[in-house]
């Protein structure tokens, strides 16, 4: 039966094998004098063992079909916004990036009114910049026109 435990076990096993494969590039050392690959290999083997145990004893877990995914579109939009912020932060600057991100989430995803969207986007972006950059002197990136 395809359970949540078994799906997770397969993912963990794949990750463990990937780590073992990638560890080939590093010196393993010996049992008495471990090299940089020693711990990763040891941990990957442990992860593989745990994954097998989870798979073997994981039949009693919840069925995969019982997992609800109704919010996945929202989740994808939020992740997309985070990705945009990571790409744009040092290009557009903090205030522009955050204002655009907030406007997208509040106006497009949450379908709030234009005035509320713009007011919140500008206030939160500019306010958080003032708090951190100006008051706490945490350097935040600036974009075109010093914004």
């Amino acid at each position: 039966m395809l359970t949540t435990n078994r799906v997770a076990a397969v993912a963990l096993a794949v990750l463990a094998v990937l780590v073992l494969f990638e560890s080939r590039k590093l010196p393993l050392g010996s049992l008495h004098n471990p090299g940089p690959a020693y711990m990763p290999v040891l941990l990957a083997l442990a992860l593989l063992a745990f994954a097998i145990l989870v798979a073997v004893y994981g039949g009693a877990g919840r069925g995969l079909s019982a997992v609800g995914w109704s919010e996945w579109r929202h989740a994808a939009a939020i992740l997309g916004t985070c990705a945009f912020a990571a790409i744009a932060l040092e290009r557009l600057g903090y205030r522009l990036t955050m204002a655009v991100s907030l406007a997208f989430l509040i106006g497009v995803i949450e379908r709030q009114g234009v005035i509320l969207t713009l007011a919140l986007a500008v206030t939160v972006a500019a306010g958080s910049y003032f708090l951190f950059d100006t008051l706490l002197r945490v350097p935040l990136p600036r974009g075109p026109f010093g914004l």
Binding site: T4, N5, V7, A8, L12, L15, V19, E22, L26, P27, S30, L31, H32, N33, P34, G35, P36, M39, P40, L43, A46, L47, F50, A51, V54, Y57, G61, R62, W69, S70, E71, R73, H74, A75, I78, L79, T81, C82, A85, A86, I87, L89, E90, Y94, M98, S101, L102, L105, I106, E110, Q112, L116, L120, V124, A125, S128, L136, R137, V138, P139
Partner: protein, 509 residues
């Protein structure tokens, strides 16, 4: 005793002078803000504000930085309880039951218990710091790499054993965290591991993006798009006060958390984080109703919050008495003291009694300031819950990104948070607990270094872990825990962890 009291009076004469009092207050306020803001933990806060103290004399600077440190510990509980976002890593455990209490309409009570627990723990642990520092510090000195390795392994096993449900699943998560902690430069050989040309990964994966991603972002991902959005709780003023029953249930967890936190705080490592994990596990183990944990157990807030504040004082023991920092935050504090021409160590107390005892006294004062500051402001923080979630979560997201970015001024950390957010979201769906991952990331470099140093000490002989009494004892306890977890397989019955897991899912036993 008389000498200690005399010295303490000297300390209070320093700490209660208006300028020092002012900087203690400023430190506490800034620390609380730093703790409240997701992702900006005490380490980042102290590091960022260190330059701001350069113009001050040593006493004021140290008092202010210490205020930031324990202020952040107080403040970290607020976002954990109200939004399930740990303001700093030590508040991860408070997220679980604090947030569950908030969802039940007991947000104010949870915040008040966290504030009082933090106050009691902070004050009692300063007394302990004053009287017990010398003997306890000498005991911690007996810890070499083998003992340290055994202790860290035991810490992971304790966490896994105390987790609800499958110990194997908890260990798998801890191992995943340890593997993530392997990313970066190998400290012994200088090799880049799993960095793939990303220079920023050389220092490894930071705890902040991992914790904010797994707990903050994943919470937003899981709740923002739900067909029935989380109800906005609108507590009345009366609800801000814990009930008599809630006070009663929190007394012993606060006491245990205080003692546990202080003892763990002395031992090198990320003590305040580990202490909150261990305290939570202990409270769940000792509870008559362990099934309530995860669903708003008062002890799940009182214990960890007291423990992480108590550990803050504990961490100052080796730093002040020996000049040895027990973790990254005391290390920054040590650097700050050295910048101001102060050399912590056995001679500090004799050579600069005003500074040492002024610092001790300022911790008492700081705890009072924080209690006065936090309890009345509980109402202000609770008002955050009145904001509709579709307007609230974009703001939280901005603070997550900002907080994560600000630590290293690196967008790589924002990407790490994003990936961890997705991982946390999927783990929730697959019924896995993400908390051991955070502990794994923190402990990975320490465990590896301790293992390799131990082997270097013993010419590669693993028997070193069995020939040193403290290490052997710690490892034996770890093995016993593993054996205990196997008991249910032999007896074919449900052990307490399986029962809790079933209760958490709402299944009948």
């Amino acid at each position: 005793m008389a000498e200690t009291v005399h010295n303490l009076l000297l300390g209070f004469s320093v700490a209660l002078s208006p300028p020092v009092l002012l900087y203690a207050f400023v430190g506490c306020v800034v620390g609380t803000i730093v703790g409240v803001l997701p992702g900006v933990g005490p380490l980042a806060g102290i590091s960022l504000l260190l330059p701001a103290t350069f113009g001050l004399d040593a006493t004021k600077a140290i008092v202010m930085l210490a205020g930031i440190y324990y202020g952040a510990m107080y403040g970290g509980s607020t976002t954990s309880i109200l939004m399930r976002i740990p303001g700093e890593a030590a508040s991860v455990m408070t997220c679980i039951d604090g947030y569950a209490m908030a969802r039940k309409g007991r947000a104010g009570a949870a915040l008040a218990i966290a504030a009082v627990g933090s106050y009691v723990a902070g004050t009692v642990s300063v007394v302990a710091l004053m009287f017990l520092a010398p003997p306890l510090a000498s005991f911690a000195l007996r810890f070499g790499p083998p003992e340290y390795f055994a202790l860290l392994i035991l810490g992971l096993l304790v966490l896994a054993y105390m987790s609800s449900g499958s110990m194997v699943k908890a260990l798998a998560m801890a191992t995943l965290g340890l593997l993530l902690g392997m990313i970066g430069i190998d400290q012994m050989t200088g090799y880049f591991r799993f960095a793939y040309g990303v220079v920023e990964l050389g220092d490894g994966i930071g705890v902040v993006p991992v914790a904010v991603g797994l707990f903050g972002l994943s919470e937003i991902l899981a709740t923002a798009g739900q067909e029935t959005p989380p109800a906005v709780i609108k507590p009345t003023l009366r609800e801000l006060l814990p009930s008599r029953q809630e006070w009663k249930e929190s007394i012993w967890p606060i006491g245990r958390g205080t003692v546990l936190g202080f003892l763990i705080g002395i031992i090198p490592g990320s003590a305040h984080i580990i202490s909150s994990f261990v305290s939570y596990a202990v409270e769940r183990r000792l509870s008559r109703r362990p099934e309530e944990f995860g669903h708003g157990a008062v002890a799940g807030v009182a214990g960890p919050e007291s423990a992480n504040n108590s550990a803050t004082s504990g961490a100052f023991v080796p730093m002040l008495a020996l000049g040895v920092p027990s973790g990254p935050i005391p290390a920054v504090m040590l650097a700050a003291m050295m910048v101001h021409g102060v050399s912590p160590g056995p001679l500090l107390i004799k050579q600069q009694p005003e500074l040492f005892w002024g610092f001790i006294a300022s911790m008492y004062v700081g705890n009072v300031v924080l209690l006065i500051l936090n309890l009345p402001l509980v109402g202000v923080f609770v008002n955050l819950l009145r904001v509709p979630y579709p307007l609230l979560y974009p703001g939280i997201l901005v603070f997550c990104i900002l907080g994560v970015y600000a630590v290293n001024s690196s967008v790589v950390d924002v990407w790490i948070m994003l990936v961890m957010g997705l991982v946390g979201y999927l783990l929730r769906k697959l019924d896995f607990e993400p908390a051991p991952i955070v502990l794994g990331v923190i402990l990975a470099p320490m465990i590896e270094m301790a293992l390799r140093q131990s082997l270097a000490m013993s010419d590669g002989h693993y028997a070193i872990f069995l020939t040193r009494p403290i290490a052997t004892t710690l490892l034996t306890v770890g093995v016993l825990l593993v054996l205990l977890s196997l008991k249910s397989l032999v007896t074919r019955g449900l052990d307490w962890r399986a029962r809790i897991a079933m209760a958490e899912k709402g299944e009948e036993l």
